[in-house]
């Protein structure tokens, strides 16, 4: 991990050369959820290619742009498009932008993703506020010699997602009449979707939703001392006894349709930030 420090500094320098504001929050937008950036009063935008050491998004539905500006009065930087393990990136590469956000001064990380709902009480299009996670990616972004400048060797994980922010998000959801749940997210490498037996297994070990992202970024956020709030959009229901073949177009359509709800929750959480 000792090589990370210089990479972070190089990316920070590139962003600072065009945007000198210290961000309050970093935001990572998942599959089909890039539209939140339209709400940002943009001050600077960067293609990932123009930032040293940023990977490039290879997914069709991810744009690959870092948008910096103001949202709800707060300085933010939003990643429109994220990186996945199944694209062949290492977890260190995937999570580098989180360290860059931290180095630029961010205190809060907002993560979002599209997920499969395994808790039968969920419905397609609902939002799950991530309460906790299970890492089944078979890898960890912190493997290697620890760089004590970036964080501790053995980070505690008793509260990776700040409980106060979970409560605030759910409160905003009630106020805005948005169906939202609290739940456990399990991350797998993918890229295939799960078999019925795997859904039963993941549900059995205590997960409410499954996805192929987010956990590496959150582990790194905890390592470098960022507060975290996470949202999963339930884009398809994964009930092993009534499983329908997954349809990627439909998943993206559901994500797009649910996007206003995500926007409302993110704005609500940020409003609470500026108030406190």
């Amino acid at each position: 991990m000792l090589e990370l420090y210089d990479k972070i500094q190089a990316a920070v320098t590139a962003i600072r050369s065009r945007w000198t504001t210290e961000p309050h929050a970093g935001i990572i937008l998942g599959t089909g959820l890039g539209g939140l950036t339209q709400k940002i009063a943009v001050e600077a935008a960067f293609d990932y290619e123009s930032i040293p050491h940023f990977p490039r998004s290879t997914t069709a539905t991810h744009r690959g742009r870092l948008v910096c500006g103001r949202l709800q009065g707060l300085p933010v930087m939003a990643m429109e498009g994220r990186f996945h393990m199944y694209e062949g990136y290492s977890l260190k590469e995937i999570s580098l932008p989180v360290r860059v956000m931290r180095a630029l001064g961010a205190r809060l990380l907002v993560v979002s993703n599209a997920c499969g709902g395994m808790n039968p009480s969920f419905s397609c299009g609902d939002i799950m506020v991530i309460e906790d996670h299970i890492n089944l990616m078979g890898d960890n972004p912190l493997i290697g010699v620890n760089d004590d400048r970036l964080g501790p060797r053995f980070p505690d994980m008793s509260e990776p997602y700040e409980q106060k922010l979970v409560a605030r998000a759910l409160e905003v959801a009630r106020r805005e009449n948005i169906a939202a749940h609290k739940g456990v997210f399990v991350a797998v490498p993918g890229p295939n979707l799960e078999t019925r037996a795997e859904y039963r297994f993941l549900r059995g070990i205590g997960a409410d939703a499954v996805g192929m992202s987010t956990v590496p970024e959150v582990i790194v956020a905890v390592h470098c001392g960022l507060r975290v709030v996470g949202f999963s959009i339930v884009t398809d229901m994964c009930l092993p006894d009534a499983l329908e073949p997954a349809n990627v177009e439909k998943i993206i359509a559901v994500a797009n349709e649910a996007e206003p709800k995500l926007c409302a929750l993110v704005l609500g959480v940020l409003a609470g930030e500026s108030a406190s």
């Binding site: 299970i134 960890n140 912190l142 290697g144 010699v145 070990i205 205590g206 997960a207």
Partner: protein, 291 residues
């Protein structure tokens, strides 16, 4: 940070490492002790005849934590010749499993018949308390070896991941007679020791509450980030193995507490004399017949 993938690890490398140790110390060890977190002071119980830095032994991994150079302490303990591996390397430091196994294979080359592993772990079984000793009766490998960098030795038929993992050892990984003996020593010395299942994870972060619940549910009593590679290596090369796990904290996912590395080390240090007691007596006694 894979330190070894360029060259891979082969049986001849274990031999080379053993030869280097032999040049510094002419004893023939009966037993090997691996000292885990917070247990380094146990090395001082050895009547030392030679201390060899890992840096002086070809192919040995080196601990990456500052201040832990890693050394072999060779000498007498419990009336027998022993080698102590003081300073352990872990998967989360970036070492692939074959490299973590090499020191075990090397001491087997030197003639050791018994391996005593020790570690600090988090308790998952709510009946456990901080300071208890769990005598490992079995393990669950959740260290996801296949995803780690693989050594070219895999293709050469050396000690790569596949070669080690796919072979079913003929004896249980943890020697049942030694487990009974360790538990009896603890009873006679009036301290708490229980049989339990160890789940090995890669780390380095501690577990989330959801992960603690998951690991408990699949049958584990304690969780840690070591021991499994060494136990697998020992099973493969025919070393009789005893593993002692110090419960440094008990995970209570329903009323979570922050886990701090320094508390873990302190809790392990407090229990160290008991681990030393079991180690000394197991080494000293005539070893029970294999079941």
């Amino acid at each position: 940070m894979c330190a070894r993938c360029d060259s891979g690890v082969t049986a001849s490398e274990a031999q080379t490492a053993a030869d280097a140790i032999r040049r510094c110390w002419d004893g023939r060890p009966k037993a090997t002790l691996v000292l885990g977190t917070g247990l380094h002071r146990l090395a001082s119980l050895i009547q030392s005849e030679a201390v060899i830095s890992y840096a002086g032994v070809p192919h040995f991994p080196r601990p990456t934590a500052p201040g832990h150079s890693g050394q072999l302490v060779c000498g007498r303990f419990g009336g027998k010749s022993v080698v102590v591996l003081d300073g352990r390397c872990h998967g989360y430091e970036g070492y692939p499993p074959a490299v973590l196994m090499l020191p075990i294979l090397a001491v087997r080359e030197l003639g050791a018949e018994l391996l005593i592993l020790s570690n600090a772990s988090g308790g998952l079984n709510p009946n456990l308390a901080s300071g208890d000793i769990v005598v490992v009766s079995d393990h669950i490998n959740l260290m996801f070896w296949k995803s780690q960098p693989r050594c070219p030795a895999d293709q050469r038929g050396g000690l790569g991941t596949a070669a080690v993992c796919d072979r079913r050892p003929s004896a249980p990984a943890y020697d049942p007679s030694l487990i009974d003996q360790a538990l009896e020593i603890a009873r006679l010395a009036h301290f708490a020791a229980y049989r339990g299942v160890y789940v090995g994870v890669t780390g380095p972060n501690y577990e989330t509450r959801a992960e603690y619940r998951f690991l408990r549910q699949i049958g584990a009593d304690v969780v840690g980030m070591s021991t499994v590679p060494e136990a697998v290596a020992a099973a493969r090369c025919g070393l009789r193995t005893l593993a002692l796990s110090i419960v440094t904290n008990v995970a209570r996912p329903d009323c979570p507490e922050v886990v701090r590395a320094e508390d873990v080390v302190r809790a392990a240090e407090r229990t160290e004399p008991r681990v030393g007691e079991i180690m000394a007596q197991v080494v000293a006694h005539p070893w029970p017949a294999r079941r």
